[in-house]
């Protein structure tokens, strides 16, 4: 069954061929495996795109008077562009610094409203109450109101609704 020659010679030849097959197989698997795995796991290393939404002139917001601003969030979702209607509560203590709250209560996600008489945010679902800085005054919420990053560029207020941050 072996090549002409002694059985040992045949055996070593066989061993060499087996190693050659294993080597070539490893090469194929590595080439395909590296690129294929890279393709598969690449989303893990993708950076989140920074989408800033323009909420209008910063001068338009009155001091210490929260205002609910509706906006259309436009997001690049892989190959598609999706639009999402969303809103934020904007508060400014001095007209220069701005805070934008995620309009969902941190308890169960209900939309809350501002009561200008009590100067508090009131959630209708489980009677949660937050103060003007988003701190929990009473009720079940586990943490203060979530905030969107804000910045003022060229006199216009921009927020980043995709990156809702839990307030410290």
């Amino acid at each position: 069954m072996t090549e002409n020659g002694s059985p040992e010679e045949g055996l070593s030849r066989r061993g060499f061929l087996t190693w050659a097959i294993a080597g070539l197989g490893a090469f194929i698997a590595a080439a395909l495996g590296a690129t294929g795995t890279g393709y598969f796991i690449s989303p893990a290393f993708g950076k989140r795109e920074e989408d800033w939404v323009d909420l209008g002139l910063a001068k338009g917001f009155k001091q210490n008077e929260p205002l609910k601003v509706d906006f259309v969030e436009r997001k690049r979702d892989a190959w598609a562009t999706v639009e999402r209607r969303s809103s934020a509560w904007v508060v400014t203590p001095n007209g220069r610094e701005f805070v934008a709250f995620n309009p969902r209560c941190t308890h169960l996600g209900c939309p809350y409203r501002w009561s200008s008489e009590k100067k508090e945010f009131l959630c209708p679902c489980h009677t949660a109450v937050f103060d003007i800085d988003g701190r929990v005054v009473s009720g079940p919420p586990p943490r203060p109101l979530d905030r969107f990053p804000t910045k003022v560029v060229g006199g216009r207020l921009l927020i980043q609704p995709a990156a809702s941050k839990e307030a410290a």
């Binding site: 395909l32 890279g38 393709y39 598969f40 290393f45 892989a78 190959w79 598609a80």
Partner: protein, 227 residues
């Protein structure tokens, strides 16, 4: 445990050694010289088929079969996904390689008359596999939804539509309606990634079983000697 012990453990529980004996330790008639390389064409086709399955599954992760999104998702693969351009390139060129290898494999069998007794069934299943490869190529061509894809499929389906009597029905069945559009894409996609792969896997299994069962044909010799 040593590798030997692992192997023994697995053999005792799965009969792996008998599978190995049947598939790998089986003897094949000796082929001398360059002719021996012709016998690698079948396995080469199998290799490229596997390659197409792997790259195809990866591509499907970022592809939408709809006229609204197909083109953008293919562009996304090519520009945004790590190795996306390479994987799509492999799938694209692999499709051509598939056709070439199947054709060469068939020519090998044809000129060596390997389709003769007792391997007639192997040949018939093989011809079926050839038509399946053509089906893959026809349905896959449309999916990027670019100009080339659209118009080539338009020509292909209108040719089918010119068949006497059944033509108009055939073209509507192919297109999933009276015109080429969203229903055509989902139809071609389902055929390309579900129906054809399943049928091909079954036919491939039968083909390989028959090859092993009959043994690979010997290189033909001049005239009948002996017997």
């Amino acid at each position: 445990m040593t590798p030997r012990a692992c192997w023994d453990w697995a053999c005792e529980r799965t009969g792996l050694d008998r599978v190995w004996d049947a598939l790998m330790a089986r003897h094949i008639p000796e082929a001398r010289g360059p002719v021996a390389w012709f016998y690698a064409l079948g396995s080469a086709t199998l290799f490229v088929f596997t390659l197409q399955a792997v790259t195809g599954a990866l591509l499907a992760m970022n592809y939408v079969p709809s006229p609204d999104h197909a083109y953008d998702s293919v562009r996304f693969i090519g520009s945004q996904v790590l190795f996306g351009r390479f994987i799509r390139g492999l799938h694209h060129w692999g499709a051509s390689a598939m056709v070439i290898l199947v054709a060469l494999h068939m020519l090998r069998v044809y000129f060596m008359a390997a389709y003769k007794y007792p391997r007639e069934a192997t040949w018939i299943v093989g011809v079926t596999l050839f038509t399946l490869v053509m089906g893959f190529s026809f349905t896959g061509y449309l999916l990027p939804w670019d100009q080339k894809a659209y118009w080539a499929t338009m020509v292909g389906t209108s040719i089918a539509g010119q068949t006497p009597v059944i033509g108009p029905y055939m073209s509507k069945v192919l297109l999933g309606g009276a015109e080429m559009g969203a229903a055509t894409m989902t139809r071609f996609y389902a055929l390309h990634v579900l129906v054809l792969p399943m049928v091909t896997a079954a036919a491939l299994g039968a083909h390989l079983f028959l090859v092993v069962w009959h043994g690979i044909s010997e290189p033909p010799r001049r005239k009948e000697q002996g017997s």
